[in-house]
């Protein structure tokens, strides 16, 4: 399609009187991987939540596939093909792995069975643990479960909020490998990461958020090489 699959303009998100996000604008070209980096409290999660329809922005416009979706609630966004893997995974600990996966197909009933089988193929570790309670999985396995669950919803745009959080470096490698696969398969990915190095290394484009505003932006490799960005963010891990 022509034009970016997702575009955000002048986004402002408030919690009470506090401005979590002030005047953020950026575009996500179709099929690309875009990363938002920034310190804790910089507003990254708020941006994702506004895009996903989980919170309503105070101001600004969000366009998905050319349509104005600013005021759309979360369930409509998922149905339309924009799915989030939230910070902290948010899997349902008392349900089994299989039940968690099935929930991913809430809006994709007809293809559910096929999609679930595909996920078992792609993530053998989930296949082995089909009947186990999701809460008993390790951090890395839960992250895989959360991603698989999101994929079952057949997203055109996948948002990932801090996928590396709390995971050992080796597991993080695996997670990012999966993300790269997803991107190669044609899904557009928007990534939020505190681990700036990782997040930017995987991306085509990057945006740096500081106290609710974008302070640096550009091609990811350029940002990685930019002294100022490194100074500001790699030291701030």
């Amino acid at each position: 399609m022509s034009g970016p699959i997702l575009s955000i303009e002048g986004l402002q998100v408030n919690y009470g009187h506090v401005d979590a996000v002030r005047n953020v604008s950026f575009e996500v070209p179709t099929g690309s991987l875009v990363t938002l980096v920034g310190a804790n409290g910089a507003g990254k999660t708020s941006v994702l939540n506004a895009v996903s329809g989980l919170i309503r922005p105070r101001r600004g416009t969000i366009r998905f596939k050319g349509e104005d979706v600013t005021r759309w609630p979360a369930h409509r966004m998922v149905k339309a093909g924009l799915v989030q893997v939230p910070e902290g995974r948010e899997i349902l600990a008392t349900l089994t792995v299989a039940e968690n996966l099935m929930l991913g197909g809430w809006h994709r009933r007809s293809t559910l069975a096929t999609n679930v089988e595909r996920m078992y193929e792609r993530f053998p570790v989930l296949d082995e643990r089909r009947k186990l309670q999701a809460g008993s999985l390790s951090g890395g396995e839960q992250q895989m479960l959360a991603i698989a669950r999101a994929l079952i919803a057949e997203p055109e745009v996948l948002l990932l909020d801090e996928p590396s959080m709390g995971l050992a470096p080796k597991i993080v490698d695996e997670v990012f490998a999966v993300i790269e696969e997803i991107r190669s398969a044609g899904t557009t990915v928007v990534l939020v990461e505190q681990n700036a190095r990782r997040g930017l290394a995987a991306a085509d484009f990057g945006y740096v958020l500081e106290t609710g505003e974008i302070t640096h932006s550009g091609v990811a490799t350029a940002l990685l090489a930019d002294e100022r960005v490194i100074e500001a963010y790699l030291g701030l891990e």
């Binding site: 989980l54 609630p73 979360a74 369930h75 998922v78 799915v83 939230p86 948010e90 349902l92």
Partner: protein, 291 residues
Amino acid sequence: MQQLMDGIFLGSIYALFAVGYTLVFGVLDRLNLAHAAVFSAGALVGIEVVTRSGLSIWLAVPIVMVVGALLGLIIERVAFRPLNGRHDAHFAGLISSIALGAIIIALLQARYGPDTTRFPPEVFPKKRFEFLGATVSLLQVLILIISVGLVVLLTWLVAKSKLGRGMRTIAENPHAASVLGINVNRVTSVTFAISSALGAAAGVLFTLNVNTAQLGIGHAVELKGLAVIIVGGLGSLPGALVGGVVLGLAEVYAVNYVGSSWRDMVAFGLLFLILVVRPQGLFGARKKREV
């Protein structure tokens, strides 16, 4: 034996009423104190429907359930949804549902007056059976079947249907439910509608059992319903069922041995005891609630 039967019949109605409370509490973590008003409404509307239109009492039950469902939708929309996201939501929900309940009762009073009414006597089936040494009426049997049937239906719904999966997901993690694309508002509304439909049904069945109805019956049963769900465990459907029957039996036996004026004490004593000793109830999970 007679007492056993009476206790079970009474208990099944308590269970039906309590199930409505526990459904809402289990899914949404809120206590709907307007439920009692719905109970009263079910009773009074049921009587009106039968008296006015001459329909069979058994047809009155579904009609009353529809009325109850509508009330449930209103209660959710007016007393609970506006409170979403407020940090005192649980607390405020108690008060807003008390308020809405009072409004409903006031409107019922406007329409039906404060006096006791009853079904016209000819609508009752006269058949009686002998069962294991106790006299049991067809009416009671049918009430039991309806109550148990509705509870079983609900349990199936929650366990197997898509709606039920949505309810359970929201109960476990409302944020995850939104992230998954579940329309939380719609599922919540439907939950309330079902809960209130059951509450209204309980109201009309209760009235059929004792054949008097008056504004205050909702309140009398309300506390017993609370006792049932707390003893059985908040949010637990089997708990509500078991708790209801236990209470029904306990009351019937208490009346026989201690006297009817102490009857209500059973419920409250039990409630109090459980709250102090084991607040999560018999079947409930130990949830840490910050309210």
